[in-house]
């Protein structure tokens, strides 16, 4: 194996890992403020991609505008999911919030299938045709965009969470909504902003993913599953660890596919989860809030 190939594999892995990371960010944000595992997250993004696609293809809206409108719709849908469903779920047992979001996921999938017909479409390539080679490693602008987008989103998020009043409110609500409310924070508004932002980020992720695969009502599922894997193994109440696992999963897949073939991708990922959760010392598996 040459250095070129190694670099190429690493870049490929970084790109898919970044996509998992982008999907994961919204899941983590939502978990922070609502303690809910949002199964519908991927489909909210899918709605953005579908909206953008149909606006541009059938109504002649310029692509950039269509993408922006798609993201707005995703933010709105995400906000509505919180208001109409999540904030009303009475927690009668473990996993019930998950089931409610599962219902939302099925609902969104079915609506998109009904409106868009269960066909697959070719989404806009978003720069995939702009290719260049550096040090014998092949790039295209779309891949670069993915990595840059993740960096920008993470940077913005760090900035907002750590340097602004809004960020302080979000962190307060994440720690304890009741106490946050007594200090005069509008918890509802904070939640609304976080859900909407998460929806928009899901939209960004879904649009980037759509430019790499064929667009249909289900294309987000494998990405959502990987994001969940990273989030749950790494801990949904953390940030750095799950993000690192998300990128690591992308790298792992890329190398496994090279060494063992595309067929080995699924067993490699899921065997790794089983091994990780089976042998990691339990102190690494504790959630932050469970700690004494």
């Amino acid at each position: 194996m040459t250095l070129d190939t190694a670099l190429q594999l690493t870049i490929g892995g970084l790109v898919s890992g970044s996509l998992y990371g982008l999907v994961l960010i919204g899941i983590l944000l939502i978990y922070r403020v609502s303690r809910v595992v949002n199964f519908a997250h991927g489909q909210i993004g899918m709605v953005a991609a579908m909206c953008a696609f149909f606006l541009a293809r059938h109504f002649g809206v310029p692509i950039a505008v269509a993408l922006g409108l798609g993201l707005t719709v995703a933010a709105l849908v995400s906000y509505l999911v919180d208001i109409l469903v999540i904030s009303r779920v009475t927690k009668i047992g473990p996993g019930f919030d998950l089931i409610a979001t599962l219902g939302v996921m099925m609902f969104l999938t079915a609506i998109v299938e009904l409106v868009a017909s269960p066909k697959s479409f070719k989404f806009f390539s978003l720069g995939a045709q702009i290719e260049f080679t550096v040090l014998g490693v092949y790039f295209n602008a779309n891949d670069l965009a993915v990595i840059v987008t993740l960096a920008v989103v993470l940077g913005l998020l760090a900035l907002v969470l750590n340097k602004t009043g809004l960020g302080l409110s979000i962190r307060a609500v994440a720690i304890n909504p009741e106490i946050a409310r007594t200090t005069g924070i509008n918890v509802q508004a904070v939640r609304a902003i976080v859900w909407a932002a998460a929806g928009a980020i899901a939209g960004v992720a879904a649009i980037l993913i759509a430019s790499k695969v064929t667009l249909n009502a289900f294309y987000m599922t494998p990405f959502l599953v990987k994001a969940f894997v990273a989030g749950i193994v790494g801990g949904l109440d953390r940030f750095v660890r799950p993000m690192a696992i998300a990128v690591g999963l992308g790298l792992l897949e890329s190398w496994v596919v090279y060494w063992l073939g595309a067929d080995a991708r699924i067993p490699a990922v899921f065997l790794l989860i089983i091994v990780l959760l089976g042998v990691l010392p339990s102190k690494y598996l504790q959630d932050l809030e469970q700690r004494p």
Binding site: V85, G93, I99, G103, E113, I273, L285
Partner: protein
């Protein structure tokens, strides 16, 4: 004196309560025996499928409803049972009944292995473990196509025991009704046993359970194995009854559907598994008959959300409560 009165009252109430239960059981038996005379063969076949899914659902009720442990591999155990039966018949010419103990043993072993993780982790992480095993099972069932027929799947022969052909819808119906009722009775007994109380304690508060001496991890472990066995036996029945199986019956979405079904029915009661199974089998059928199959998924998602929001305990407990209230107001009037 107040105490005396209440004791007397509760004694009096205990009598009719028992009578009423017997009345319900009698009505149930009558319905079971009447159905074959009312329904056409195709509907009887669907009732059979319902009973099979109900048996699998009972496993999920035990695991999720009683013990509070989420599993996303329930359809995989269903699949193990189904594939053992089909592979045994197709590749090795084994009669159906011989494959039952094999399916049982493999599900026991698989459940015991996957369940080991429940000794260590719980909640979402354990759900992720089950998802991983489920995905591996799905992958294997597609990949090992020499054995499983790959994506196309396998044809399975219908069950036949001691000259009784259960390919005949009426025979099959009675077999599944009997087995389904047996499994339901078993599940009720399990709930009311001391192990059932250990499961409930584990579900409601791990800390409280531990401090009153309930072996939490072991309870979860055993509950997982019980769930796997219910599902495996149901899967074994499924392949003989439906006649053709393919990996799609046993993937992650199938597991999720089973979960959705028992939640709609009511996770904490064995009867919920029946309502859930009936929902899984009959509702798509009705939509198909109305020529609106494409509306079913939308309704399904919306209904799930509504159930969680409005009657989170599920249909059966809510109906039961409504009936009891009705009875109480009528009693007051008398």
């Amino acid at each position: 004196m107040v105490n005396m009165q209440s004791i007397v009252r509760s004694d009096v109430r205990g009598g009719p309560e028992k009578l009423r239960r017997m009345a319900w059981v009698t009505v149930g038996c009558l319905v079971v025996f009447a159905l074959p005379f009312i329904l056409e063969n195709y509907w009887l076949y669907l009732v059979g499928v319902t009973a099979i899914y109900a048996i699998a659902g009972l496993g999920l009720v035990t695991l999720f409803g009683f013990t509070g442990q989420l599993s996303l591999a329930h359809a995989s155990f269903f699949g193990i049972g189904a594939y053992v039966s089909a592979i045994g018949g197709v590749h090795y010419g084994l009669p159906g009944i011989v494959t039952l103990p094999i399916a049982f043993a493999i599900c026991l072993a698989a459940g015991a292995f996957v369940g080991i993780f429940a000794l260590r982790i719980s909640g979402l992480r354990f759900a992720l473990i089950t998802l991983s095993f489920g995905e591996l099972f799905y992958w294997a069932s597609v990949r090992w196509s020499d054995l499983t027929g790959g994506e196309q799947g396998l044809y399975a022969e219908s069950l036949s025991v001691m000259g009784i052909d259960f390919g005949d819808p009426i025979n099959a119906y009675f077999l599944f009704a009997a087995l389904g009722l047996l499994a339901t009775a078993l599940c009720f007994r399990l709930r009311d046993s001391s192990f059932g109380r250990a499961m409930a304690a584990t579900r409601d508060s791990e800390l409280a359970a531990k401090s009153s001496g309930v072996p939490v991890a072991r309870t979860r472990y055993i509950a997982f194995i019980i769930g796997a066995l219910f599902s495996g036996v149901a899967g074994w029945l499924f392949s003989g009854h439906v006649g053709a199986i393919s990996p799609n019956f046993f993937d992650m979405f199938a597991s999720l559907n089973m979960l959705v079904a028992v939640i709609i029915g009511g996770v904490k009661t064995p009867l919920g598994a029946w309502v859930g199974a009936a929902y899984l089998v009959f509702v798509p059928e009705f939509f198909g008959m109305a020529g609106a199959s494409n509306l079913y998924p939308i309704l399904s998602g919306a209904l799930l959300v509504l159930i969680i929001l409005v009657v989170p305990a599920g249909v059966v407990p809510t109906l039961g409560q409504a009936l009891r209230q009705l009875g109480a107001t009528r009693g007051d009037k008398q």
